[in-house]
Symmetry: D2
Subunit: 342 residues, 4 copies
């Protein structure tokens, strides 16, 4: 059976990546594409790299006949997403890539996103989409909230360690390096090639990045107590990729062993041999996450480095992985594409 | 049926790209990998981006049992390739990615490569691997010579025009821009990031680039007379991609029409609407070639711009396409992967 | 004596480059800076790389007391520039970096810029700012029109050849590769890092680029007859630099000799030994232009390659060079900064 | 007075940067250049970006007449440097850019560099070249040891904080991001454009990086007790620049105030307003270091971010700054060149 897929917000980078993945997915086909300001355009105009595909023209959301859609990816900005999803059929399977349904707590949402949530019932219904840790809930869900790309990277490095109680919960530090595609396709001076190429800087530093809301929610839930990590993101002159350098107090060998055991059966999460550390170049374009562990010269301190592709495993790949579960398909279907190097 | 594939010279970029493509090819599996200096290493060590695959360890060529191999890709340097292929079983299907068998004429080989060919019989046997123009010969061949990546780009822009007689054969000029992966993985000062990043320059200018041998051979054959193009390659600070700006004298509309008609049924060659010109970013990681045509303000002059990915359509993708034909498989099998953007 | 300098439109890349150059110029000081939308901001906010300098706050143009200004650089968009300069004091020395006064002919301006010129008297008064060829006129001028950066590059390669009559005037072809800073600092989707990094494409191809107006004007004037070149610009993933590959019919040795002789005494124009071709990396950040000549394998065809830094020799460096002449200072003052590599 | 300068090891990146700086230094001239393997070549061949300068041909060290040299920069690899400097005249002023004389303790040298020091007397004589903290010693020194570029960056962020006792000495963490030019010009597979462009990874992680020897030496000296920081360097796809994100426990406002007070009179060290964080792009090509401080959401934790250009302030600019002091010149002479952006 071929499932009919709709993508709302198809003219952004995560939208393009969803189409790229679905293009070779054996049991999905793109049946509808929306892009508000670019409605009426073809995908070949918006994304010439998809020129070889036979795709529907971009429309407005209200023109889509959702009765014919089996699953809908929603790749719209947070804030607007709430109202859009509230207006969709109540039985439509939805994977949302925005930030609107990641936080379960209304107060937390208001705190991190600066405005009250307008759809608390949907918020309560949504399942957090970190596939490897919410498989059963996702398979049974109607509405799945894709995680933040930075939030996913940090959690892959840390969740098993917090769950196993092998690190000091009060001294967790995530220094994260991210490529620019995560900032989206909207024209901004700060995202110009001439501004970014050849340099690096922090952004949303000082505990202000919104993905901290996800870290707080998830890590506290696992630990059964409040856990607050320190988190400093940096923007790098590269298009795809996140590298999270995670500093923890704990025995490095135990940290490595714990991660290795937790992910031994995971098709997309690869723990490298002890002492080997990963590179973003090795996961670009794929749904894989590579994780390495090394001990510091200071006893009792371990460094965990996790890398993934923000547009793929960090958003659109994860979204397809979740959609596979929701449609009863094998979780890895269409997602075993090798990374691209160089 | 699953075909067993050997790759000789698997530690270079075209070797890695071959493995990437075969990884999701429905009817090929990597059965043997060689790399002389890196024999004994795993592919995960040589190419960490292939870590998720279950691959044979790198060996020396003489350790491979070719009786179990259905088809062999040979991605070794020119010169050494001749002797290696001569020593392989005479009934082994081979797709060679080196320059050793591209030129049919022994004198032409000696001229462009600075040494006599040592295997003239093999040279006579080899079929030139520009798939779209040698389909039948390739399907029947035992030994196929993959084309130069620059040579492929220029030919896709020009062959139908020369064949149709719609351009002046004495005023063909190819100004080509190429990414650095085409220069290979051998450490050289001129290929360092610090040397290349943020700048551009010509290389092998002045009619010295060896791919001119292929242009001469093929264009003269099509035209039935000697055709010599002018060709200036440039190295650009990007990893993948070739853009050939081809200047011809002829009616732009006729040029566009001729190319459009010639490639109308081609799955990998896309002619854009008249006046639209392609970008290398739109074919990166794929086996597609985009071609655009525009007229100049000077009447009777047309500009044809062709782009492809040098590692894929320019070498490893082309090689798999040829292997599909040689094995009796659908030509596009495993090659419809979408480009990756951004 | 220290001259007081005003820069109008100081928040763009050419404005920043002007401040960078004046910062170590022995006889200029920045006395006023304007930026309409960013009025009230400091330069350290607009350009943190200039933080170490003691600079005036950005103002609106009408707040500047031009009685205290010895020379004014105008780095505003074309179209608006005309009215701004018309409103400035009639005895103020001005170096304009926009396109508004490059073309002497009103009809040519209207043709290339799509609107009539509103200040024909100023247009008639302006001197074309290609320093090496208009020294005396510039030294005596009140209003100098900086050239297009692409136009400068092509002219450095071609003017002596046209003047000497050593090339075929009907077969001149300029294939130009340009970095992205030339496209300015305004946020546009097409200029995002994620869009440009790692790829290349043409722009304004087909004889539509406005710098053709300058080529036509200057080359026809030198030749004493109409000369129309073919010109195809490409955008490259690099911030600074232009490389013009210029194809001509003529004797390569004569071409080299002609350029060498013409520029033998020029401090900023360097002709490389015959057969050596330049790289943009070697002029980045400087006011130098490197020029190389090579012969093609096809007899009677020469390739001239010229490189310069579009923001420096192509605009702000040239502007300071012209200002030096207008103020009676040594032409090279403040401009002998070495390029930066890597 | 013009001082005659020799540069040993002039064909590497720090050598080229020294020549670039001296080119516009009012009181230095390049009188001799050595490069062992490239002896006999001109600098225009080795570094075409220096083509406009009138420079001596590269020679072997033994061909230099040091009687005519006022000061010698030594930019050779560590290990070989010791013997070279031991063989130079005993009264020659030397600024060494290698790692050979940074560590005062013979055992520390042996530990971090894996071999005993062969010139303990010279080691004892050498002054550590972090100009802002060793001014008097440097002015009086004959042999100054330039610091590691990473070591300089971390020290600028931390020395005043350790001296003032405002941070926890047992929880200092430096997560450092470095451009590739610091790895030098020797051809290595890992430094190829195709390997590095578009990705990031750690290197020398786990407390193995040799600059830790400098951190240990200096921080322990200031604190009067052993101080061991945690330090993880990352390689980024950019040519120039280091960004050190330094995590400390202490009051952020006090941290900011302490750094601001310490550097208030420093011409090259700029502390940004509280909460503003710097970018490497803003110091590229210059001798400036920008430092920002922000508080985390976790009380009592501050983040200090320091950026500099590894080739300039991190090595060759620092070296000229030290040479100025040693020659009795103003410390900033020739070093106020503005950064280059974009």
């Amino acid at each position: 059976m071929i499932y009919n897929i709709a993508i709302l917000g198809a003219s952004g980078y995560t939208g393009g990546e969803l189409v790229r993945l679905i293009a070779t997915h054996p049991q999905m086909r793109v049946a509808a594409l929306s892009a508000d300001r670019k409605a009426g355009m073809t995908m070949a105009e918006v994304f010439p790299f998809l020129r070889h595909l036979d795709l529907p023209v971009l429309t407005k959301i209200e023109e889509i006949d959702f009765a014919k859609i089996d699953l809908c990816f929603c790749a719209l900005p947070h804030g607007t997403t709430q109202a859009v999803i509230a207006a969709l059929p109540r039985d439509l399977k939805i994977v949302d890539l925005s930030a609107d349904f990641r936080l379960r707590d209304a107060a937390a949402y208001a705190k991190w996103y600066g405005q009250p949530h307008t759809q608390p019932q949907l918020q309560a219904e949504a399942v957090y989409g970190l596939t490897e840790f919410y498989r059963n809930e996702i398979a049974a869900a109607r509405l799945v909230a894709g995680t933040g790309c930075n939030a996913a990277t940090g959690q892959f490095a840390l969740r098993p360690l917090i769950a196993a109680g092998v690190i000091d919960l009060d001294l967790i530090l995530i220094d994260l390096k991210a490529g620019v595609s995560g900032a989206g396709r909207s024209p901004k001076e700060t995202l110009l090639h001439a501004e970014l190429s050849g340099g690096t800087h922090t952004y949303s530093a000082g505990g202000k990045h919104r993905h901290l809301g996800e870290f707080d929610q998830e890590f506290s839930k696992i630990a059964g107590r409040a856990v607050q990590v320190q988190f400093t993101p940096h923007l790098l002159p590269m298009n795809r990729g996140i590298l999270a350098t995670v500093y923890v107090k704990g025995d490095p060998a135990v940290v490595h062993q714990t991660l290795g055991a937790a992910y031994a059966a995971e098709p997309f999460l690869h723990v490298l041999p002890f002492g080997a550390l990963p590179s973003t170049r090795d996961v670009a374009g794929s749904n894989f996450c590579h994780i390495g562990v090394i001990g510091d010269r200071l006893p009792g301190r371990a460094v965990v480095v996790a890398v993934l592709d923000n547009l793929n495993k960090g958003s659109s790949g994860q979204a397809v992985q979740n959609a596979n579960l929701m449609l009863g398909l094998p979780e890895t279907m269409g997602l075993m594409l090798a990374p691209i190097f160089p």
